[in-house]
C-alpha cells in the first residue's frame, strides 16, 4: 500500500518544517536562560527538551511515511487506547502535587492527557467527515461527538487538570463550528453553554481553581497570594520594554520571582530578555505557522484532511493563545503550555505529531480521490 512516490518529496513542505525548527531553537535557548545559572543535579531541562525535539522529528518522519488516511481506519483503536491510558493514569498514575496525571514509564513520565488532545482531533475529524447532512448538523447528530468528547474531558477534569480539559472543549467547539451547523442548533448550544457555566463553577471547579478565577477578575482582593504569579509575570514581560534586557540578563527569572518559568511561563523569560521586538518575532512565527496550516487545509483534497488540519490548528492555536494571554495577564492562571516552547515531553511530542500530520496531508494533496 505504501508506495514511494517521488512527488511526495517534491511536495514536501520545507517551509513549515523550517518554522518548527526556528521555534525549537528559540525554545532551547530560552530554556537555557530560564534555569540559568544551572546548579541543580541531573540532566538540565534544555538538554532533555533537545532529546524530546529529536524524538519529535523522528515521530514526524514516521507519520509522514504513511498515508494520513490510516488515522481514519485506526480512529477508534486510538480512541480506546487513549481512554485506557487516561483511566490508568487516574487509578495507578504517579501523583504530583495532588494531581494524578502521569504514567511512569521509567525513562519518561507520560502525560496521557496530552496525546488525548490529538486523539480527539482525529476522532472528531473522522466522525464529521463521514457524515454530510445537507442543511447542517442537527442537535441530535451532535450527541455522538459530544459524548466522544465528554469521556476524555471528564477523565482529565478528574485528575484534576482544568487547562487540558478546557482544551478538549475548545477543540470540540472549534471543529463543530467549522462543519456546518443548523443555526437553531447553534442557538440551542449557546443556551446550554450559558447555563452550564454557573453549574460548572459550582460542581466541577476545585476551590483553588475558583480562587484563581476570582483573583483574576478582582486582582486587588488578593494581591500577594494567587495573584503573585500573574503580577510577577507581568513585571517580567513589561520590564522587557522594546528590546529586552539581553540574553541571560533577565533578572526576574534569575531571582526566582517567576514561577514555572521553564514550563507555562517560559514566554515571560523570553519577553523579558528580548523585549517587544523578540516577542513580536516569536508571535509572528506562530502566526505564520497558523496561516500555513490554514493554507494546507485549503489545499487538501478531501474532507477528512481538511477537518484534521483545522483540528490540529485549533489545538496549537488555542493553547498558544491561552498561554500567552495568561502570561500577559489577560486570563486567569490555568495550566497550559505554549506548544513547542514550554518544557515538557508529552506536550512537545503531541504537537510534533500534529505537525507531522499537517506535513503528511500537504505531501499528499496531489492524490486525486479515486
Amino acid at each position: 500500500m505504501i508506495r514511494f512516490d517521488r512527488r511526495l518529496l517534491t511536495n514536501f513542505d520545507w517551509g513549515l518544517l523550517f518554522l518548527v525548527l526556528v521555534i525549537g531553537l528559540m525554545c532551547l535557548a530560552n530554556l537555557y536562560s530560564a534555569i540559568y545559572p544551572n546548579d541543580s543535579h541531573g540532566t538540565p531541562v534544555y538538554q532533555k527538551q533537545l532529546y524530546y525535539y529529536l524524538m519529535g522529528f523522528m515521530l514526524i518522519l514516521a507519520i509522514i511515511s504513511v498515508d494520513y488516511k490510516i488515522f481514519l481506519q485506526l480512529n477508534y483503536k486510538i480512541y480506546a487506547a487513549i481512554i485506557f491510558l487516561l483511566l490508568f493514569a487516574l487509578f495507578f498514575g504517579s501523583s504530583q502535587s495532588g494531581t494524578q496525571r502521569w504514567i511512569n514509564l521509567g525513562f519518561f513520565n507520560l502525560q496521557p492527557s496530552e496525546p488525548a488532545k490529538l486523539m480527539l482531533v482525529i476522532t472528531l475529524a473522522s466522525y464529521y467527515s463521514s457524515k454530510d447532512p445537507d442543511k447542517g448538523f442537527t442537535l441530535k447528530e451532535l450527541i455522538v461527538p459530544s459524548l466522544l468528547t465528554a469521556v476524555p474531558f471528564l477523565l482529565i477534569l478528574k485528575q484534576p487538570d482544568l487547562g487540558t480539559a478546557l482544551m478538549l472543549g475548545f477543540i470540540f467547539v472549534s471543529m463543530t463550528l467549522f462543519v456546518k451547523l443548523k443555526w437553531q442548533t447553534l442557538l440551542t448550544l449557546l443556551g446550554i453553554c450559558a447555563s452550564a457555566i454557573p453549574l460548572g463553577w459550582k460542581f466541577f471547579l476545585k476551590p483553588y481553581q475558583r480562587q484563581r478565577i476570582e483573583t483574576f477578575l478582582n486582582p486587588e482582593s488578593d494581591p500577594l497570594n494567587t495573584g503573585y504569579h500573574i503580577m510577577q509575570s507581568k513585571i517580567a514581560v513589561g520590564s522587557g520594554s522594546a528590546f529586552g534586557k539581553g540574553y541571560l540578563h533577565g533578572t526576574q527569572g534569575y531571582l526566582d520571582f517567576l514561577p514555572e518559568r521553564h514550563t507555562d511561563f517560559a514566554f515571560s523569560v523570553w519577553a523579558e530578555e528580548w523585549g517587544f521586538a523578540g516577542s513580536l518575532f516569536l508571535l509572528t512565527c506562530y502566526f505564520a505557522m497558523m496561516l500555513w496550516g490554514i493554507n494546507i487545509a485549503d489545499s487538501s483534497r478531501d474532507k477528512f484532511g481538511t477537518l484534521l488540519v483545522i483540528g490540529i490548528i485549533s489545538l496549537i492555536f488555542w493553547q498558544a493563545f491561552i498561554n500567552l494571554a495568561m502570561v500577559m495577564g489577560l486570563m486567569p492562571v490555568v495550566g497550559m503550555p505554549l506548544p513547542l516552547f514550554s518544557y515538557g515531553g508529552s506536550s512537545l511530542l503531541t504537537t510534533m505529531a500534529g505537525i507531522g500530520i499537517l506535513l503528511s496531508i500537504r505531501m499528499r494533496r496531489y492524490q486525486k480521490p479515486s
Binding site: 500500500m1 546548579d39 541543580s40 543535579h41 488516511k69 481514519l72 481506519q73 502535587s97 495532588g98 467527515s129 463521514s130 454530510d132 467549522f178 462543519v179 456546518k180 500577594l224 503573585y228 510577577q232 507581568k234 513585571i235 517580567a236 514581560v237 513589561g238 520590564s239 522587557g240 520594554s241 522594546a242 533578572t251 526576574q252 534569575y254 531571582l255 526566582d256 520571582f257 519577553a271 523585549g275 517587544f276 516577542s279 513580536l280 508571535l283 506562530y286 502566526f287 497558523m290 496561516l291 490554514i294 487545509a297 485549503d298 478531501d302 474532507k303 477528512f304 481538511t306 477537518l307 483545522i310 490548528i313 492555536f317 493563545f321 500567552l324 500577559m328 489577560l330 480521490p369 479515486s370
Partner: protein, 620 residues
C-alpha cells in the same frame, strides 16, 4: 481499502468547497486574536515598559517564611512538659554572596569545622531558589552568634535566623511517647499535599509529635518584603504573624511519670500506670529513654549508632512494643477461667509436691519443696505453678484464650501510639495456622502459667489489672486528655472508651482480688516488697523465663549472662477495696518479680499516694 477510500470521498466536491469557505472565517478569528496579543504586548512592553522596568529593579517582592511555634505538650494538670525556645541558626543565602568560596572558608574557620561539612550542606539543597535561606548550622551558642553578628560585613551571604525549637523541660521525659519533630524529608515532602509543606519545614517525626502533627504544627507566618537587586530589604509590605500550634494535654501525670522514670533509671524495663476507672494512662515509662535532644534537627550518625548498639535497646518503647511471656501475672486469667468455667471453686484443694508429670515430662513449681495442700487464695498469693497447671488442664487452652481476650490480651489495646505490638494469646487454631502443628497437651500447662507461646506487653498487663480492679470493665488505654488552643480554649476533649467486659462473674473477680491482696500482704505472699502501711495494695508477681541455653539451666541466676536472665513482672492495683490506679512493672533480665519488680511499683505507689519513702520504710 477501496471501500474505505470510497467512504472518504463519498462527499462531493461541493461539500468540500462549502467547508473551505469557513477557512476564511477561521483566518479572521486567528488574525483578530493575534492582534489582541500584539496590542497587549505593546501595552505592557512599550506603553508601560519603563514603569515595569522600574518595578523589576526596585520593587521586588519576596516572601519570607516565619516558622510557627509548635504547640506545647502538657501533663494532665496543665504543667508544661515540652515547649519552645528560640534557636539561632546560621543560614546561607546564595544570591547575596558574590564570592561564596571565600566566605565559606571564613565561616568554617569561625566555626572551627572542616570546610567540607559546610559544602556538603550547600550541595544538599542545590536546586532550591537562590534567595531561599539554607541552613548551615543549627542552634549555635551565644559566643558564635555575637561573633558572626559583629563580622556581618565580612560574611556576605551568611545570615542568622531565629526560629523556635523544641525545649524539653524534663529532658528525656516520656521520650518514646512524645517523640520529636525534625526537618521534613524529601519523601515526606513528596507525599504531602501541595502547598502544605516546603523544604526546611519542621514536621513531627515520631511519637505524639508525629501523630498530632496537624494539631501541634500551627500555621506559618509570612513576611512580604520589598528587596532591591542586591537582595537587601527595602521595606516590609505586609506581615502575616504565624499562628502557634495547639497544645496537647496528655493524661500523663508529671510527678508520677518522673517517679516511674526515676525508678527505672539505668535499667532496662517499663512501668505503666493507669487510672483503673477510665483507662487514662498516668505514667508510661520505658527505660532507657531516647536522648531526644540529639534527635532535634537530625541526629548525627555517631549518636544514632549509640542508640542502635546499646544492649538495653533505648529505641524500643518497651511498654507497648516489648512482648514478654506474662509469667505468673497470667494466673489471673487462668484463675478467672477456672472459676467461671466451674473447673475450680474457692474451696478446691490441690496438692503441690513441687512438680507434676504429664506424659513422662516433669513440670516444676518454682517452689521445689512444693506448696503441699493449697487452695485458690494461697495459689494466687504464693503463686503455685502446680495448682494452675491443673486448672489449665481442666479448662483447656482455647477457653484460657477466650478469658485472656476479654481482659485485653492478645490484641492491640488501641492506645494512640504508633507501632504498638499485639502480644500473643495462643489457641489450637493459631498453632495449626502458624506452625502447622497440632496442639500438645503439655503446651497448655506452660500457657496456664503464662509461659510457652504466651506474649504480652506491659501495657496489656496493666490494662488487664485495671479491668480486674474496676470489676470487669475493659477500657481503652488513653494518653490524650484534650487539645487546647494556644490561649487555653478547649478544642477537643477525649472521653474514656469502653472496649469490652471481662468474662466471668464479679464474685470470681473478687476472689482473685483477694488472692492478690494476700500476695502483697500475707506472710508468705510473693509480692511483699510492694506492701504499704497506709494503703492496701493488691498485686501479682511474675517471672518470665527467657529461653536459655542448656548450659545455664542449673546455674544460679546471678551467674547467668545478662541476656539469658529471666524478666521480672509485678502488676498491682490500689487501694484494694476502692481501686484507683493499676501499676505494672516489667524489668528485663532482672530475675524474680517479687524482688526485682515489686519494689519499683512501691516507689510509684508512694508517689501516687504521696507517702514519704523514709516514713514508710521506717515503720516496716
Amino acid at each position: 481499502m477501496r471501500r474505505f477510500i470510497q467512504l472518504i470521498y463519498k462527499s462531493d466536491e461541493a461539500e468540500l468547497v462549502t467547508l473551505k469557505k469557513r477557512v476564511d472565517i477561521a483566518t479572521a478569528v486567528i488574525l483578530f486574536l493575534v492582534a489582541v496579543l500584539v496590542a497587549r504586548l505593546w501595552y505592557l512592553q512599550i506603553h508601560k515598559g519603563s514603569e515595569y522596568q522600574h518595578l523589576s529593579e526596585n520593587n521586588r517582592i519576596r516572601v519570607q517564611k516565619i516558622a510557627a511555634p509548635r504547640g506545647d505538650i502538657l501533663d494532665r494538670n496543665g504543667k508544661i512538659i515540652v515547649t519552645n525556645r528560640p534557636c539561632f541558626n546560621i543560614v546561607w543565602i546564595k544570591e547575596d554572596a558574590p564570592d561564596p568560596d571565600v566566605v565559606i572558608k571564613r565561616l568554617a574557620a569561625i566555626l572551627n569545622i572542616d570546610i567540607s561539612e559546610l559544602l556538603d550542606r550547600i550541595r544538599e539543597s542545590a536546586g532550591q531558589p537562590r534567595y531561599v535561606p539554607m541552613r548551615l548550622r543549627q542552634d549555635i551558642d551565644w559566643k558564635t552568634l555575637v561573633y558572626i553578628e559583629n563580622h556581618r560585613l565580612d560574611l556576605p551571604g551568611v545570615r542568622i535566623e531565629a526560629v523556635p525549637i523544641r525545649d524539653y523541660l524534663y529532658n528525656n521525659f516520656a521520650s518514646h511517647i512524645i517523640g520529636y519533630p525534625g526537618h521534613i524529608s524529601k519523601k515526606e515532602l513528596e507525599s504531602s499535599k501541595s502547598d502544605e509543606y516546603q523544604g526546611g519545614d519542621q514536621i513531627g517525626k515520631m511519637g505524639l509529635e508525629r501523630i498530632f502533627e496537624k494539631n501541634l504544627r500551627g500555621e506559618q507566618g509570612k513576611r512580604y518584603v520589598e528587596v532591591d537587586v542586591h537582595g537587601f530589604e527595602q521595606k516590609q509590605l505586609q506581615n502575616q504573624e504565624p499562628l502557634p500550634g495547639n497544645d496537647l494535654q496528655l493524661t500523663l501525670d508529671l510527678d508520677l511519670q518522673l517517679a516511674a522514670e526515676k525508678a527505672l533509671d539505668g535499667k532496662a524495663g517499663a512501668i505503666v500506670t493507669m487510672d483503673v476507672n477510665s483507662g487514662r494512662v498516668l505514667a508510661l515509662a520505658s527505660s532507657p529513654p531516647m536522648k531526644l535532644k540529639q534527635f532535634l534537627g537530625g541526629i548525627s550518625v555517631k549518636n544514632w549508632k549509640e542508640h542502635l548498639d546499646d544492649p538495653l535497646h533505648p529505641l524500643l518503647n518497651k511498654a507497648i512494643q516489648g512482648q514478654y511471656p506474662p509469667g505468673s501475672t497470667y494466673k489471673i486469667v487462668t484463675a478467672l477461667a477456672g472459676l467461671s468455667e466451674k473447673a475450680i471453686s474457692p474451696q478446691t484443694i490441690s496438692y503441690c509436691t513441687g512438680s507434676m508429670t504429664l506424659h513422662r515430662r516433669r513440670y516444676g513449681c518454682w517452689k521445689r519443696r512444693g506448696h503441699e495442700a493449697i487452695d485458690l487464695n494461697r495459689a494466687l498469693s504464693e503463686s503455685c505453678d502446680v495448682y494452675f497447671y491443673q486448672v489449665g488442664q481442666k479448662v483447656g487452652v482455647n477457653k484460657l484464650a477466650q478469658y485472656a481476650g476479654s481482659l485485653g490480651l492478645g490484641k492491640k489495646t488501641g492506645i494512640t501510639l504508633e507501632h504498638e505490638k499485639s502480644g500473643l494469646t495462643p489457641t489450637k487454631l493459631w498453632k495449626k495456622k502458624n506452625r502447622n502443628e497440632s496442639w500438645q497437651e503439655g503446651e497448655t500447662m506452660s500457657v496456664s502459667i503464662g509461659q510457652g507461646f504466651n506474649l504480652a506487653t506491659p501495657l496489656q498487663i496493666c490494662n488487664m489489672t485495671a479491668t480486674l480492679a474496676n470489676g470487669g470493665t475493659l477500657y481503652r488505654p488513653m494518653l490524650i486528655k484534650a487539645i487546647l488552643a494556644p490561649e487555653g480554649k478547649l478544642i477537643e476533649q477525649f472521653e474514656p472508651i469502653i472496649d469490652g467486659k471481662a468474662l466471668g462473674t464479679k464474685r470470681s473477680l473478687d476472689l482473685i482480688k483477694k488472692g492478690l491482696v494476700d500476695a502483697v500482704n500475707s506472710k508468705h505472699g510473693t509480692g511483699g516488697q510492694a506492701k504499704l502501711e497506709e494503703i492496701t495494695v493488691a498485686g501479682k508477681t511474675g517471672t518470665s523465663q527467657v529461653v536459655r541455653l542448656a548450659q545455664y539451666r542449673s546455674v544460679p541466676e546471678d551467674q547467668v549472662p545478662y541476656k539469658y536472665r529471666d524478666h521480672a513482672w509485678f502488676t498491682c492495683f490500689a487501694p484494694a477495696d476502692k481501686p484507683e490506679i493499676a501499676i505494672t512493672v516489667l524489668m528485663e533480665h532482672s530475675g524474680h518479680g517479687g524482688s526485682a519488680a515489686a519494689p519499683l511499683a512501691k516507689q510509684v505507689l508512694e508517689q501516687y499516694f504521696k507517702i514519704k519513702p523514709d516514713a514508710s520504710e521506717g515503720d516496716s
